[in-house]
């Protein structure tokens, strides 16, 4: 199995600056996207600090696997997922502390979605209203639950998902990096199959482009990068009212092995029935 990755970030058509930040690290199979908020340039500072801290922590952990897991280990999850959560908690702390240091950055914050792939196991972590989707066998499934007020109301059955989309309160989120000294990070793990696609995106995509229009882009014969470009284009065609960032991770089949490898495989009995 091999991995193809595409990524694209765009300011959109309305905003003056891009407060989204992302990072793709192919050696770690780490994908992080942050959507910053805060006046002047503070949003950019927060999202930059977010992705940088997470990347740095995951890199350090490769050198030193015993590196402390911030916030403690949750035994329900793998080491890799716990590491991701640890990085996010540290980024929360970094943003929170930086925000306190200057009046221009006071109150800044950021959302985060982070994913990491260890063979077939996808670790997923998030805070805020950026999203991760899994596209499998033609079906687009949201893996993250927005930490927004309207989605909380939907979960409690107070409003319908359609009402949520129209709500004046759609921009109110319940959790963000930097808002408080500590943050609760949502974690999950999924087993991925060949052909699966994982999409990380900021709300600049999902508030502009309905899921039903995102899915067809992923079935087109685009490369991962072309698909990302197309999604950003779609967001802008729908008004481009916010910064939009997408990362697409595809699990593709290996190219067929050379004939001599196949032969060797057969000789060594690779496909033999397993007998205990």
């Amino acid at each position: 199995m091999q991995i193809a990755v595409g990524a694209r970030s765009d300011t959109g058509l309305v905003r003056q600056n891009n407060e989204d930040q992302y990072v793709v690290d192919l050696s770690l199979n780490l994908y992080v996207l942050c959507d910053g908020m805060g006046g002047q340039a503070a949003g950019e500072v927060a999202s930059k600090l977010g992705v940088d801290t997470i990347l740095e922590h995951c890199r350090q952990a490769v050198q030193d696997p015993a590196l402390e897991v911030s916030g403690g280990v949750n035994s329900e999850f793998s080491e890799m997922t716990n590491r991701l959560a640890s990085g996010i908690r540290l980024s929360n702390k970094a943003i929170h502390e930086a925000a306190d240091q200057s009046p221009t950055t006071s109150g800044m914050g950021s959302t985060v979605v982070a994913a990491r792939l260890n063979e077939n196991v996808l670790s997923v972590a998030h805070v805020g209203d950026s999203r991760i989707y899994l596209f499998r066998e033609g079906e687009l499934r949201q893996l993250t639950q927005d930490h927004s007020l309207v989605m909380e109301q939907v979960r409690r059955g107070l409003i319908s998902p359609e009402e949520a989309e129209q709500s004046e309160l759609a921009n109110v989120i319940m959790r963000a990096l930097g808002a408080e000294p500590t943050v609760e990070v949502d974690l999950d793990e999924h087993w991925l199959h060949e052909g699966d696609q994982v999409l990380l995106c900021s709300d600049g995509l999902t508030r502009m482009v309905p899921d039903a229009e995102i899915a067809p882009v992923l079935t087109e014969p685009y490369t991962a990068q072309q698909a990302c470009e197309r999604l950003v284009e779609l967001a802008n065609e729908h008004g481009g009212e916010d910064n939009v960032t997408v990362i697409l991770v595809r699990l593709e089949a290996d190219p067929p092995p050379a004939w001599w490898k196949k032969a060797l495989h057969t000789v060594l009995g690779g496909d033999r029935e397993w007998q205990n």
Partner: protein, 256 residues
């Protein structure tokens, strides 16, 4: 330009510039200012320009429109006035003066989706906000009557599943499935480790989801059987299910 500042408790939700000669406020999506709360009537109130100032009018709303703590039917607005509708408030600001008739854009009341910058609530705000914003679900539009206990508390307690090995070579005789994801196979990632030269790297994956468990085949479907049927698609695990991989036989049970 004059504006309205929409607030909930102390939190400022939105600033609404007054660009039109009239502006409707209510819960229905067609309004210029939509307040998404059951205490607000579908068409609750209206602002309209009268010569050089805005006039606030209640549209026979169920719970009334309050201006500076007094219920009103119709009243002229002045800078700093606070309009209370349900649990939300709108502060009227006359910065730069009211646009005269001629200046006001003759725009249609197109629904403007709010793409204002994202805001986050702190813990206290969040708790209050949620309690208030959800309390009206009981049908009461007045004081909070129903309990608004946290959703987390309502979820049934997760039951733990376990696998008991009845036959075959594995690294343990019993596995308690506390993880979100348990891999069965020879792989390093496997928590249920199979032994033997030709053991599949990954035979099946067990997912723990909302108090239950699912078992899914790996890419190479056919390595595992559940109740003697080849596992080709994900399925729920039930008490007593038999999982078979080669000669390894395991039974799935719930623990108290």
């Amino acid at each position: 330009m004059a504006k309205l500042i929409l607030k909930f408790e102390a939190a400022v939700l939105k600033e609404i510039p007054l660009k039109k000669t009239s502006l409707s406020i209510g819960r229905s999506p067609g309004n210029d200012v939509v307040i998404d709360n059951l205490a607000v009537s579908g068409h609750h109130a209206r602002l309209s320009i009268d010569e050089d100032h805005y006039v606030l009018e209640d549209m026979n709303s169920l719970n009334g429109t309050f201006l500076n703590n007094q219920r009103i039917r119709r009243s002229t607005l002045k800078d700093g006035d606070e309009i209370v509708i349900g649990k939300h408030s709108l502060v009227y600001r006359e910065e730069g003066g009211v646009m005269s008739h001629g200046m006001v854009e003759a725009t249609q009341p197109t629904q403007q989706r709010s793409m204002d910058s994202t805001m986050v609530l702190d813990t206290k705000q969040r708790r209050e906000f949620l309690a208030k914003a959800t309390s009206v679900s009981t049908g009461s539009t007045g004081e909070v009557t129903g309990s608004t206990g946290p959703v987390e508390g309502e979820a049934p307690k997760d039951r733990l599943g376990c696998l008991i090995v009845l036959d075959g070579r594995t690294d343990q005789r019993e596995y308690i499935l506390t993880s979100k994801l348990s891999v069965i196979g020879k792989s390093d990632m496997a928590s249920v480790k199979l032994r033997g030269w030709f053991a599949p790297r990954v035979a099946a994956i067990i997912n723990r989801r909302e108090g239950g468990y699912n078992i899914a085949p790996s890419d190479k479907a056919g390595a595992a059987k559940v109740n003697s049927e080849v596992l080709r698609a994900p399925r729920e695990l039930r008490e007593g299910d038999m999982i078979q991989i080669g000669r390894v036989k395991m039974q799935f049970n719930f623990r108290e």
